[in-house]
């Protein structure tokens, strides 16, 4: 039964031991340990929160970038389209101009040809007139003595002369 009777000496020693251990640990160990753990937990929580914020910011930046990119793409397309249009316009204008120019040249050429032609015809006519006069002179000189042959000759001459 002495197991159930607390020994006074042991009780006192346990009291002393407990108090000493409690005050040593309370002063030197628990604040550092519990404080350290708390600090670490806070740091982890903060880091997680920061990571979350950074993630959100990143997502925002990314979406902004995408908007910018889309805008840039649109602008590029627009610019390309305008360039193409300008190109087409320039080509068309050039073509038009060339056509007008060509037509003008052709008209002028035709006019020149006509003038030349007329000049040539006039000259031919003048030449023919001269020839006729010369021939007539010759004929007149030779055949004035023979009337009949004179007439034949004129006739043949006239036949020979063909305009065109």
């Amino acid at each position: 039964m002495n197991l159930l009777i607390p020994a006074f000496g042991l009780l006192i020693w346990t009291l002393v031991a407990f108090l000493v251990v409690y005050f040593i640990l309370k002063k030197f160990a628990w604040p550092a340990i519990i404080g350290g753990l708390k600090k670490r937990e806070e740091t982890i929580a903060e880091s997680l929160a920061t990571a979350e914020t950074v993630k959100a910011e990143m997502a925002q930046i990314k979406s902004e970038n995408e908007v910018l990119l889309a805008k840039a793409r649109e602008e590029r397309a627009l610019m390309l389209k305008e360039a193409r249009e300008t190109k087409d316009k320039i080509i068309n204008e050039a073509k038009e101009q060339a056509k007008v120019e060509a037509n003008k040249i052709i008209v002028e050429a035709q006019a020149a040809i006509d003038t030349q032609k007329m000049a040539a015809i006039t000259e031919v006519k003048n030449q023919i007139g001269k020839l006729v006069i010369e021939v007539s002179e010759k004929v007149l000189r030779r055949e004035l003595n023979d009337k009949k042959s004179q007439e034949d000759h004129v006739r043949s001459l006239v036949d020979e002369v063909k305009l065109n």
Partner: protein
């Protein structure tokens, strides 16, 4: 930690062989295995660490580590000497005698008042003086082992605390013994202190953690073979329960006392309930004391009984003794594992219930939720 344990063991055993080899001059008959004596000798406190005895040259030799005896009596004053001077009850020292089964019979002392292992005052003729009150403040094996366990506890905690102060485990991952104990410390904080003590938990946390580790270290070290049964000693558990009682009383508020002296029940029941509630104030720490004591003691008794079985069978028949030993050892190993679990469990339960009771003392309005363990 492992290194420290083996160091402690080494010191024990080295000293033990260098220590006093007392010899018994009393004529011994054929030594019969006395299970009762062995079991109670192991689980009770003592003035020496006793490892084993052997017979050689017709004498009984005890392999022990003697421990200092410190006595105070109003008549004789303060005395101190080594327990080895008693020579296991054979001699009286400075007017004191150590009681053993034999000299108690010789002096016809009442076994209800005296018990073996107790130190009593004797007169110059070597006869007991019942009138002289003796206060025994000896560094008994429980005291010495408790001091060793607590020195280990304090050392470990200071090492960890130093690491945290340096920022290890705060900015980096915890290492070594720190990572071994950290989950335990956070477990006590998050699952014992926080749920029961609410917003005031930080104030009580050092106390709860200290109680937990105080019990845990003492219970675990008491599992080393040859060591004393500290956590299974009623004085040890009584002190812890008294501390818990004091803390409960200090933390109590007027809601707590109002609930006890004026419970919110009909008038007829009220007076019965007041009695019950007043009783409850004392039964709570009493239950703490008995629960830890019984659990720790039971484990030790089971182990020592299982080992004793070998020798009980052995005295009947040698073959029976040898054939019982494998079963006994297997059971002892099993119980040992359970005891390791029980050490943690009982430390946890004690800390938990202390937290619950302290929480109830200041909680006030909603303190009807009981935790049953």
């Amino acid at each position: 930690m492992g290194a420290t344990f083996s160091l402690v063991l080494l010191i024990f055993f080295n000293t033990s062989f260098a220590g006093q080899n007392g010899d018994s001059t009393a004529p011994k008959k054929e030594k019969i295995f006395d299970a009762d004596e062995v079991i109670f000798g192991h689980i009770s406190d003592g003035h020496e660490f006793h490892f084993f005895s052997y017979h050689s040259g017709g004498k009984e030799h005890h392999v022990t580590i003697p421990l200092p005896v410190i006595l105070y009596s109003p008549q004789k004053g303060l005395t101190s000497f080594m327990s080895s001077s008693f020579e296991h009850g054979e001699k009286t020292v400075k007017g004191y005698a150590l009681l053993t089964g034999e000299n108690m019979e010789e002096w016809k002392l009442d076994s209800k008042k005296y018990h073996a292992g107790q130190i009593i005052a004797v007169n110059e003729h070597g006869e007991p003086e019942p009138g002289v009150k003796v206060y025994d403040f000896s560094l008994s094996r429980n005291v010495v082992q408790m001091i060793l366990a607590l020195a280990l506890l304090v050392w470990v905690m200071l090492v960890i605390a130093k690491k945290y102060k340096r920022g290890e485990g705060v900015k980096t991952a915890p290492k070594g013994i720190q990572s071994l104990l950290e989950p335990v410390i956070t477990f006590i904080r998050d699952d014992v202190a926080k749920p029961n003590l609410g917003h005031k938990y930080e104030k009580y946390l050092p106390y709860i953690e200290t109680v937990f580790f105080f019990i845990l270290f003492n219970a675990l070290i008491a599992l080393i073979p040859g060591s004393a049964n500290v956590a299974g000693n009623i004085a040890f558990t009584m002190l812890l329960a008294l501390t818990a009682f004091v803390v409960i009383l200090i933390s109590s508020n007027k809601h707590y006392w109002k609930h006890i002296f004026w419970p919110p029940v009909p008038l007829g029941v009220k007076f019965i309930l007041i009695l019950v509630e007043i009783l409850g104030v004392f039964t709570k720490p009493f239950a703490l004391m008995i629960r830890l004591f019984a659990n720790m003691l039971a484990g030790h008794i089971i182990i020592i009984c299982l080992v004793s079985l070998i020798f009980i069978f052995g005295t009947l028949n040698k073959v029976a003794g040898y054939s019982a030993s494998p079963f006994s050892v297997a059971f002892v190993v099993f119980i040992y594992f359970i005891e390791i679990l029980v050490a943690f469990l009982q430390a946890y339960i004690f800390a938990m219930l202390t937290a619950v009771f302290v929480g109830q003392a200041f909680e006030g309005e909603h303190h009807d939720e009981e935790v049953h363990l």
